[in-house]
């Protein structure tokens, strides 16, 4: 892997490291590690987007949706099942879903098997509308009884009660499934259509998460998702930990929260390294060369007998799976699923800035972009506040403009990201670590 990193890249990574270490000294190690952990997650998201955009030139603006699917996986895998809710209507909800899926399958079958003609035109609406009403009839009743079970604390089916780490691959699978459906319909058409289809599916996934209370409590949020790492409270009472803290010379309370963050960081680093290794392998393999050949000239690639649409679908599903995994990791890190926090600007477009700035078509570039842009995203606000205070220092403290400017600092980051994106796209379109 040393071959893949040249001096410039190493220097850039060193610079980013300096940023994080500097944050540790100037602000606090806790802050620095918090940013670092989300930086790791962002880097993985950027790897996924890079796989779609850098390898294959696919334009996915539904990153948010796949991240949210990963988050949903964390809930479904790790939360304890709510037995009462299952007894009340769990089976009925599942049955409803199966009926819904069967309707769609049946409609697809009818469409492909029946000969074109009046018969088919008539059969399609009958199947779809009839199926929809049966689905709603079974499903709604089940949902109502599930949501009636102790709505303040549960009101949903719960999960499987398995270790949360399992949710990471499951999150990838869920996202892959979503991506397959979208890819099946929108790939093979012009590139903008994929963009708009993914934009739509992301909004719908968020709408489902917000409204389907039986699934993950909707806007009531699921909190207290089990952790893969120890809790601070337990650490502070463990003898070995108090010893360790004393030897380092830190207070057990501060050190415990740093220790927990380090645990998360090491887990995430392992995942990131595995993914980078796999991505680099894929990039340098015949498969990677084929993807680039398709990206650079679809016509000649298909003339060489490559199935462009199938390869696009493949890489789209793979990239989305990586994004979904990152989403599950993020929800694990937060220990909660809050559908209201999923904003396209933050989850879709920011990841795009990471990939473009870092260097599309270069896995290391995407990772670098993930760390750098995430750090900026967080730090622009305090920096902006400092600047604003400087600007407004001479103003009357009661003046309307001064207060308005100080309040508006929060929106500086959007502006900054837009400017960075446009500048990089214009003057260094290949990014900080360009494709080799």
């Amino acid at each position: 892997m040393t071959r893949t990193l040249d001096a410039r890249a190493i220097l850039l990574f060193a610079l980013v490291a300096v940023l994080f270490i500097g944050t540790g000294f100037v602000q606090s190690w806790n802050t620095s590690l918090t940013i670092f952990n989300m930086g790791l997650v962002s880097a993985i998201m950027a790897l996924g987007v890079n796989m779609q955009w850098g390898y294959a030139g696919l334009f996915n603006v539904g990153v948010m949706g796949f991240v949210a699917l990963g988050g949903l996986a964390a809930v479904l895998v790790s939360m304890p099942p709510v037995g009462e809710a299952w007894a009340a209507g769990g089976v009925q909800v599942l049955l409803g879903l199966v009926l819904g899926a069967a309707t769609i399958l049946f409609a697809i079958l009818a469409w492909s098997r029946l000969p074109a003609g009046r018969m088919r035109t008539l059969a399609m609406p009958v199947i779809l509308i009839g199926g929809f009403f049966i689905f709603r009839y079974v499903f709604d009743a089940g949902v109502a009884s599930v949501e009636a079970v102790n709505p303040a604390a549960t009101g949903y089916l719960g999960g499987l009660g398995l270790p949360v780490i399992l949710a990471w691959p499951v999150g990838g699978l869920l996202a892959a499934g979503g991506a397959w459906i979208i890819g099946k319909t929108a790939l093979g058409l012009r590139s903008d259509y994929l963009a708009i289809a993914t934009l739509g599916i992301a909004e719908i996934i968020i709408a489902v998460l917000k409204n389907e209370d039986w699934l993950a409590r909707g806007v009531k949020n699921v909190t207290g998702i089990p952790r893969p790492v120890p809790y601070e409270v337990d650490l502070q009472q463990a003898d070995w930990f108090i010893d360790l803290a004393a030897r380092i010379g830190a207070s057990p309370v501060t050190f415990s929260s740093i220790f927990v963050k380090l645990c998360y960081a090491s887990l995430f680093i392992v995942v990131l390294l595995i993914l980078i290794w796999l991505s680099e392998k894929a990039w340098n393999s015949p498969w990677g060369r084929m993807m680039r050949a398709i990206r650079d000239n679809e016509v000649s690639a298909s003339a060489m007998g490559k199935d462009v649409k199938a390869r696009h679908l493949q890489v789209f599903v793979l990239g989305s799976a990586i994004i979904g995994m990152a989403g599950a990791m993020m929800t694990t890190l937060d220990s909660q699923l809050v559908p209201g926090t999923y904003q396209p600007l933050r989850f879709t477009f920011l990841v795009w800035v990471m990939v473009i700035v870092g260097g599309s078509g270069n896995n290391w570039g995407a990772v670098l972009g993930g760390f750098l842009i995430w750090w900026l995203w967080i730090q622009v606000e305090p920096l902006g506040a400092l600047v604003m205070q400087g600007i407004t220092a001479g103003m009357d403290p009661e003046s309307w403009l001064r207060n308005h400017l100080l309040d508006a600092v929060a929106h500086m980051r959007l502006l900054t990201m837009g400017v960075i994106l446009l500048l990089v796209l214009r003057f260094s379109p290949r990014g900080l670590i360009p494709e080799r």
Binding site: T185, D192, I196, A197, E203, I356, L415, G418, L422
Partner: protein, 336 residues
């Protein structure tokens, strides 16, 4: 009588709101489709352009109201609209000069423009939030109703009231005027014809001496006018919130694609199609059906196909169906 009541309910809750919403979507989709036809990319910054224009209009409206100038029964925002269009026009032409022109000279791939438009979207989003904040702003004034529910009941003696709000009437009238102007411009004037020629066949248009920079600038100006008008009408009808405008991107794109990207007539059709399906699918038809059917058959459920939270799913569903069966849209659009 019951049939009339059912009809009035339907008008009140489905047809009138959907027509107004459809007109707003159509204006938005026209902007997207024009950019697509002339510059050949999907402009993701369109929703935020609408938000920017509306913000300028709101600020002007407040200034006018502060100075005591109003339009009587009509919203003051109409007076501020030309200013909003002018400022937004300056903004988009400036953006074009600073951002897009470079890629035009490079003959960059369409997707590069789209990414650049993402950057513009971020910046506009930031500017709008910076200036006016993220909260809901109401700026409608003047008479609220053309016909209010009470008046209508008194007039007709029907059980159901029909409320026709000024903003809805205004939307329909203004949208009609805007569309008429646009089609007159595209079909009758020399500049409009050169735009269509440019959209149909760029090389041929260049060969016959059409100045591409001029065509592009005029397109941006028209788009600014359409976007600002659409944004203001939407804001008057509902309310102004930057994030809602960003979210309008999806139904607007859906309208433009369903109608056929690059085809103005298609954009209008698509706008109304999306609006009517959205309102129709998310409306609870119980009351309407209750009037039509005899009492014994009165439905127990709400007769609502989808909850209003899933209105995006409607535009998306239609979009998928069109993509699957007719990728170029209802009216034949371009597909590069």
């Amino acid at each position: 009588m019951d049939l009339l009541n059912a009809l009035v309910t339907l008008l009140n809750f489905v047809i009138i709101p959907a027509t107004a919403y459809g007109a707003q979507l159509a204006l938005g989709a026209l902007g997207v489709t024009l950019i697509y036809g002339i510059l050949r990319f999907s402009n993701f910054a369109h929703g935020d352009t609408m938000a920017f224009g509306t913000m300028v209009v709101i600020l002007c409206t407040w200034a006018l109201q502060g100075a005591g100038i109003t339009l009587g029964p009509l919203p003051t925002a109409l007076l501020a609209l030309p200013i909003g269009i002018a400022v937004t026009g300056l903004l988009v032409v400036g953006t074009d000069k600073m951002v897009y022109r470079f890629y035009r000279r490079q003959k960059a791939k369409p997707v590069i423009y789209v990414i650049a438009s993402l950057g513009v979207m971020f910046i506009l989003n930031g500017i709008v939030r910076f200036i006016i904040g993220v909260d809901d702003q109401r700026f409608a004034d003047g008479e609220r109703f053309i016909i209010s529910a009470g008046t209508f009941r008194d007039m007709t003696g029907l059980e159901e009231g029909l409320a026709f709000r000024t903003s809805q009437g205004l939307t329909i009238v203004v949208a009609l005027i805007a569309m008429a102007l646009l089609f007159w411009f595209l079909n009758r004037t020399r500049t409009g014809k050169s735009m269509r020629a440019f959209s149909d066949n760029e090389d041929l248009a260049l060969l016959s001496g059409i100045n591409p920079e001029r065509v592009v600038m005029i397109t941006w100006l028209i788009v600014a006018a359409l976007a600002t008008t659409a944004g203001v009408l939407y804001g008057l009808d509902k309310s102004f919130k930057p994030f809602t405008y960003f979210q309008l991107l999806l139904p607007i794109f859906a309208s433009a694609i369903v109608g056929g990207l690059g085809n103005p007539v298609g954009a209008i059709l698509g706008g109304f199609l999306i609006a009517f399906s959205e309102v129709g699918v998310t409306y609870a038809f119980r009351k309407v059906v209750a009037y039509i059917l005899p009492e014994s058959m009165e439905p127990s459920g709400l007769l609502q196909l989808l909850s209003t939270d899933y209105k995006f799913a409607v535009s998306f569903g239609i979009l998928l169906i069109v993509l699957l069966f007719k990728p170029t849209g209802i009216m034949k659009g371009k597909s590069v």
